[in-house]
């Protein structure tokens, strides 16, 4: 059976009208009263992120002037270098050697630097009482021996590679990290094509129009093909992690991802381009292991699941005859999609200053199939390599 009778149906129904429901106009008029505008979700989300960034900056600016009694390790730092104008020296871990009286970032110092360090003792136990350390500092402070040289001074005297620049101290006792990250999947796009035999009609935008509609209606009997790509266009996130040992930490946060799909349906000289954006919010759960640390650099291994749910979508459609744009529309259909992903990556971090570091993280993700019929980058590429970069604040 041909398609013809359904092709005729729209024209048969074209002039058909029904009586509007009783009281509709009154209801519409009542609804036309000025309404309080509700801020869109992205506006609210932007405000929340801005507020979070402001808090983070406030903490960073406030932290250096904080009381020395925050943690014992910090007390040690301040007792040893009480008037230092330069970067705060690091607090050694229990398993690191430490220079007597002057705290050097021994765990991060290169060999040349370590060679110049005159006296190295056994590791200092983290739980050193504050009072004891402070007393030690007071008794040792008058001593102007060769060891009582602050880090900048030491750097100035040193002709080795470390002489020109001192790595920023990292508050190693700090356990809380906040990170702002963005990323993209390395395999950016996946394409597909289909020819369903029942083509799209680019004249759809004016189908309900009058006889003088400028866009011609086309027959559905012409063959058509649909081609397209699925890709990820945006992924940003805000996360918090907590170190429960010097090497292990766990974290969570919030991510926002946009998946983009482009469809092009061609029928004769007409083309309909549809772009769909799927917006997801995600909650990652992540374990991180610090595998390697040297000077300003550290390498971590991250792994964990991410729970994501769709929060909205947008369909932009443009119809062309030849090169001429003939119709355009925008829709925001609601979507439901909940999914889990598993991911892992290697995180290379570069300490920019005491409380801030840049990081790059190549990794991969497995987007676990959830039975959804919604086609997207996640369904086309269940396995994908990704690349994340961002800024990490340490407190």
């Amino acid at each position: 059976m041909s398609e013809k009778w359904t092709d005729k149906l729209p024209s048969l129904m074209e002039g058909y009208e029904e009586a509007a429901p009783e009281g509709l106009w009154d209801a519409v008029q009542a609804g036309l009263a000025p309404k309080k505008r509700v801020a869109p979700w992205w506006y609210v989300a932007g405000g929340v992120l801005a507020a979070a960034a402001a808090v983070v900056l406030a903490v960073i600016l406030w932290k250096p002037a904080a009381s020395p009694s925050v943690v014992p390790g910090e007390a040690l730092v301040q007792a040893d270098v009480p008037q230092a104008d330069g970067p705060l020296p690091a607090v050694p871990r229990a398993d690191e050697p430490v220079v007597k009286e002057v705290v050097l970032p021994a765990g991060k110092a290169p060999a040349s630097f370590a060679d110049t360090a005159p006296v190295v003792e056994a590791p200092v136990v983290e739980e050193t009482p504050v009072q004891e350390v402070q007393a030690s500092a007071q008794t040792q402070k008058p001593d102007n021996g060769p060891m009582e040289v602050s880090e900048p001074a030491l750097s100035a005297q040193n002709d080795g590679p470390m002489a020109l620049e001192t790595p920023p101290a990292v508050p190693k006792r700090s356990r809380l990290q906040v990170q702002i990250a963005s990323g993209a999947y390395l395999a950016q796009a996946g394409s597909f094509s289909s020819g369903y035999g029942v083509p799209n009609n680019p004249g759809m935008e004016t189908k309900a129009g009058d006889a003088t509609v400028s866009v011609p209606m086309l027959s559905r009997n012409r063959p058509s093909t649909t081609e397209g790509t699925h890709k990820q266009s945006v992924r940003v996130g805000l996360g918090v992690s907590y170190a429960f040992t010097p090497r292990w930490s766990v974290g969570s946060g919030l991510t926002y991802t946009v998946l983009r799909s482009d469809y092009a349906t061609v029928s004769g000289n007409t083309t309909t381009n549809t772009t769909r954006y799927l917006h997801y919010l995600g909650i990652p759960l992540q374990a991180q292991f610090k595998a390697f640390e040297w000077w300003r650099l550290s390498v971590n291994i991250d792994a964990g699941p991410v729970f994501e749910f769709a929060v909205g979508s947008k369909l932009d459609t443009r119809a062309y005859i030849g090169d001429q744009l003939t119709a355009e529309s925008m829709e925001r259909p609601a979507v439901k999609d909940l999914r889990w992903s598993l991911g892992a990556g290697v995180d290379v971090q570069y300490q920019l200053f005491t409380y801030g570091a840049l990081f790059l993280q190549p990794g991969f993700s497995w987007h676990i199939p959830n039975g959804s019929e919604l086609e997207s980058y996640y369904t086309l590429h269940p396995f994908s390599f990704d690349f994340t970069f961002g800024f990490r604040f340490t407190f």
Binding site: M13, E17, E18, A19, L32, P199, A208, T226, E331, S372
Partner: protein, 192 residues
């Protein structure tokens, strides 16, 4: 069901669609009334193909008309008929949103698979009867059928719009079409 709308849209036809769109953009209340007089009957017919229940249809149309009036400044005039087509799309989107919120867009095979009959002279069937036949289809079938036939969406677009597979859309459409063909033929046979 088939009565004409109680509107006197003679006056509204004196205003071109372009002028009407421009006045709607300026939130001219008289233009809103003219728009209602001109298109309320058409939009009611469109909306009732998706939401047949009269009381629920009123809610859908109210939301659609409010959106039309509130978003008129975003409308871009592209020739005679474009305002009507734009209003139609908004009404359809509102209807889809309503059906989604009601959990009525279930795309299961409710209708038995029947062979499609050769269509007889469909011109004999009044539009109101055709409209009734369409409204009698289950929600999922009816939605896909309307989007495909009246909104001229491809199955891929319908799939993207409704969050279903392309072949699910095609399957729903073909079953709906077969059942409609059977009903229309039966009607023609009874009225010969």
């Amino acid at each position: 069901m088939t009565e004409r709308p109680p509107h006197n849209n003679t006056a509204s036809k004196a205003v071109s669609e372009k002028e009407l769109a421009e006045r709607l953009r300026r939130r001219d209340s008289e233009a809103m009334r003219l728009f209602y007089e001109r298109y309320a009957g058409f939009l009611t017919a469109v909306g009732s193909r998706y939401v047949p229940e009269r009381d629920q249809l009123k809610d859908v149309l109210q939301d659609a008309l409010l959106q039309i009036f509130n978003a008129a400044d975003k409308f871009e005039y592209r020739g005679e008929g474009s305002l009507k087509a734009w209003a139609c799309r908004i009404t359809v989107n509102r209807a889809l949103k309503f059906l989604r919120a009601q959990g009525r867009l279930r795309f299961v095979d409710e209708l038995p698979d029947v062979p499609e009959e050769e269509m007889r002279e469909m011109q004999q069937v009044p539009p109101a009867v055709l409209q009734d036949f369409i409204r009698e289809l289950p929600d999922g079938y009816r939605t896909v059928f309307n989007l495909f036939v009246f909104e001229q969406k491809s199955h891929r677009e319908i799939a993207a719009l409704l969050g279903i597979r392309e072949d699910s859309s095609a399957s729903q459409y073909f079953r709906a079409r077969a059942h409609l063909a059977k009903k229309i033929n039966q009607y023609i046979k009874n009225h010969e």
